[in-house]
């Protein structure tokens, strides 16, 4: 590969390969459906839009997760932050529902950030504890049963309705994406985030208030999880126990498949978008194929390993 024909930086290569892999999934899925049912639902815009609408929730969670991973931390409190936001938003109801949901996310993010940045507890364990606390609070709040409260009309229309034939959830995801992309590439805060991920001590010596930036990152992740919870409650018209459990590992996988270094400091937002689309399409192709849960898990794991073997290999530590 000459530098003239393909002048790719090392951050762009994963995005290109992941995008190519999406094409492979689409082609393979279409060949399968054509051979078996004589139709090609994967190529119909309606079907694709519907899949992307479901993917929007994962996409919003992954956007927040990416920012935390970029500063070399991780947020394991996403599942119950999401569920708590959804449950509180539906039980408050009225015009305050959405602000309350986002506020829950902000509050959890703030606690996470203070624990990680000021107490220096490893984020892996602190956010795990916060997740357990949120779960405990919600179990106490709902009595362990499915909450009887319903999503407000605004939540439903944001998550489930369409404007000009395009699902509203996609507009929300797009807005979040634009905000995050601008934040990462066009603001000083974005530069600080990458700097902290590369070497926090160096960023600190360069005059960055690294602890405040860390708190801000966790707050962004918390708010993103809260927003996803509010939308998901709107989509399914109610909140339910364990609604966030299916979003933690896929969001980390989407970020990493998109080329973001799990050790922080490197990665582009476009990659995360591509990673989310890849996971959503992979899931939908597997469900078209009637793949049992066992096969899905195996394929899911193998795809992550395969993608990372292609472009995610670290360097050997030799000094």
């Amino acid at each position: 590969m000459t530098s003239v024909s393909l002048n790719l930086s090392r951050d762009d290569r994963p995005i290109l390969i992941a995008a190519l892999f999406i094409l492979v999934i689409l082609v393979a899925g279409t060949v399968y459906t054509f051979a078996r049912f004589g139709s090609a639902p994967l190529l119909s815009p309606t079907y694709l839009l519907q899949q992307l609408q479901i993917g929007a929730f994962l996409g919003i969670v992954a956007a927040g997760m990416m920012i935390v991973i970029l500063i070399a931390q991780i947020d394991l409190s996403v599942p119950w932050t999401l569920a708590a936001a959804a449950m509180m938003a539906t039980s408050i109801g009225g015009p305050l529902a959405i602000p309350v949901g986002l506020g829950i996310g902000l509050l959890v993010g703030l606690v996470n950030g203070i624990g990680v940045a000021y107490l220096r507890v490893p984020s892996m364990i602190f956010t795990l504890g916060v997740n357990a606390v949120m779960r405990g609070l919600m179990v106490a709040h709902t009595g362990g049963y499915a909450p009887q409260t319903a999503a407000t009309d605004l939540m439903r229309s944001l998550a489930a309705d369409r404007t000009l034939g395009i699902p509203n959830a996609l507009f929300v995801w797009a807005a979040v994406s634009v905000l995050v992309a601008i934040l990462l590439q066009r603001t000083a805060l974005g530069r600080y985030i990458y700097a902290i991920g590369n070497k926090e001590a160096a960023a600190y010596l360069a005059g960055v208030d690294t602890r405040r930036v860390t708190v801000i990152c966790f707050v962004i992740c918390g708010v993103a999880a809260g927003l996803a919870g509010v939308l998901l409650a709107g989509y399914s018209t109610k909140a339910y126990q364990g609604m966030g459990d299916a979003y933690l590992l896929p969001s980390i996988a989407a970020v990493v498949i998109g080329g973001t270094n799990i050790l922080g400091g490197r990665g582009r937002y476009l990659g995360t978008l591509v990673g989310v689309v890849l996971i959503v399409l992979l899931n939908s192709v597997l469900s078209i194929m009637d793949m049992p849960e066992a096969g899905r898990q195996v394929i899911y794991g193998l795809v992550i390993i395969f993608m990372l073997l292609v472009y995610g290999r670290g360097e050997r530590v030799t000094s």
Binding site: I74, L76, G115, Y118, L119, R120, V121, P122, M124, I125, F126, L128, G129, V130, N131, A132, V133, M134, R135, G136, L137, V139, A140, G143, G144, K199, E200, A201, Y204, L205, T210, G242, D245, L249, I252, A253, I262, L263, P292, E293, A294, G295, Q297, V298, I299, Y300, G301, L302, I304, I305, L308, L309, G312, R313, G314, E315, R316, V317, T318, S319
Partner: protein, 370 residues
């Protein structure tokens, strides 16, 4: 002499705190329990502790090498599902089939009786170790970050477990279940040794729970020799400074593979026991996730640094026991079941936050970033 002791205590302050905390909590628990300090309570508690203690040990080894193994719960679940096929204990042996992609393959039959059970246990532990070995190879030769590599292999192992047991089921030999989940006296009676446990010299030992003995044996016969071996020391060295370990000519790759293999073996022990205890195989994904996360919590409470290089699997065992004893307390202090998850979370947060208060003493902020 006293100076030496003081230095040793200071070096191991994490594990010493964990041991003291556990002793205090457990004595309090037994004092508050109506049947405290009895063999029955001890047996019940060690049954409930064993699987998590094994997973905590499993998690410790990769963490010492500054990796993290997110697949320990999945390996445990997978080994448990295998055990529910291999340890049925029917005298005639169990036929093994493999139904995949519409094919119906007959794999031969598994021997029955005592030899079949012993072989089944060995096979189950080997499967656990093999799963760990695969993790190690993906991390070392694939050069993928451990946290994300084991996330992916964990999904694969859960997939295999679901393939084996789409719905909970299977069976474990009743005698095996009875012998391993009760006291030494019951064990001797079931396997007919020491005059069925009636031998005079054996009586003072008969109250000890079998899982407790197994735990001590595994710690003494597997963990201690490993820690003192070249590979074990290399694991610690890799965790504290990989570059320096490389420059010193330590077998880094083999140490990492050994760390993950040992983790798989320990997780396999946990899965095997869980299957024996519940007499069935169950591909329970939430349970696998909960065990993985609790194993990380146990490691931290047991005084092992998540950055690697310091700590010990023994500490993690105490970490796991502390976590479990806290939940025992809920049973005797009449705390509403609905509030229990909240208290568990708060106690975990409080424990790690108190442990982190050392940051307030740091004079140079730069020391925080390592």
């Amino acid at each position: 002499m006293l100076d030496d002791l003081a230095i040793r205590v200071r070096q191991n302050v994490g594990i010493v705190t964990a041991v003291l905390l556990f002793c205090i909590l457990y004595v309090l628990y037994n004092l508050a329990h109506p049947k405290g300090f009895s063999s029955a309570v001890l047996v019940q508690n060690s049954d409930e502790i064993f699987a998590l203690a094994m997973l905590a040990m499993a998690q410790t080894v990769p963490v010492l090498a500054s990796g993290l193994d997110l697949s320990v719960g999945a390996v445990m679940t997978m080994v448990g599902c295998f055990a529910s096929y291999l340890l049925t204990g029917t005298a005639a042996g169990a036929p093994l089939h493999l139904d995949i992609f519409g094919l119906h393959l007959f794999l031969g039959s598994f021997p029955g009786g005592i030899s079949g059970i012993l072989l089944g246990i060995v096979v189950c532990l080997a499967i656990g170790a093999a799963a760990g070995f695969v993790n190690g190879c993906v991390v070392v030769y694939g050069r993928i970050q451990p946290i994300i590599a084991t996330l992916a292999t964990g999904a694969v192992y859960i997939g295999i477990a679901l393939f084996l047991r789409p719905t909970p089921g299977g069976k474990i030999d009743e005698d095996l279940n009875w012998a391993l989940t009760n006291s030494l006296g019951d064990f001797a009676q079931t396997v007919h040794i020491f005059d069925d446990g009636a031998a005079g010299w054996f009586a003072p030992l008969a109250w000890i729970p079998v899982p407790f003995v197994l735990l001590v044996l595994i710690a003494l016969l597997v963990w201690m020799p490993f820690r003192r071996s070249v590979l074990g020391r290399a694991v610690y060295a890799v965790g504290s400074a990989e570059g320096a370990a490389y420059m010193s000519g330590l077998p880094i790759d083999r140490a990492k593979i050994a760390a993950f293999t040992l983790a798989g073996f320990f997780a396999g022990c946990g899965g095997l026991f869980l299957a024996i205890q519940t007499s069935s195989g169950n591909a329970d994904i939430p349970q696998a996730g909960a065990y993985t996360l609790n194993s990380i919590a146990s490691v931290v409470i047991g005084g092992t640094s998540l950055l690697g290089g310091t700590g010990s699997a023994i500490g993690s065992i105490f970490g796991a026991m502390i976590l479990r004893v806290i939940s025992f307390f809920f049973r005797i202090f009449d705390i509403a079941p609905l509030l229990q998850p909240l208290f568990e979370g708060l106690i975990l947060l409080a424990a790690v936050s108190i442990g982190a208060l050392g940051v307030l003493r740091v004079r140079n902020t730069l020391e925080l970033f390592r």
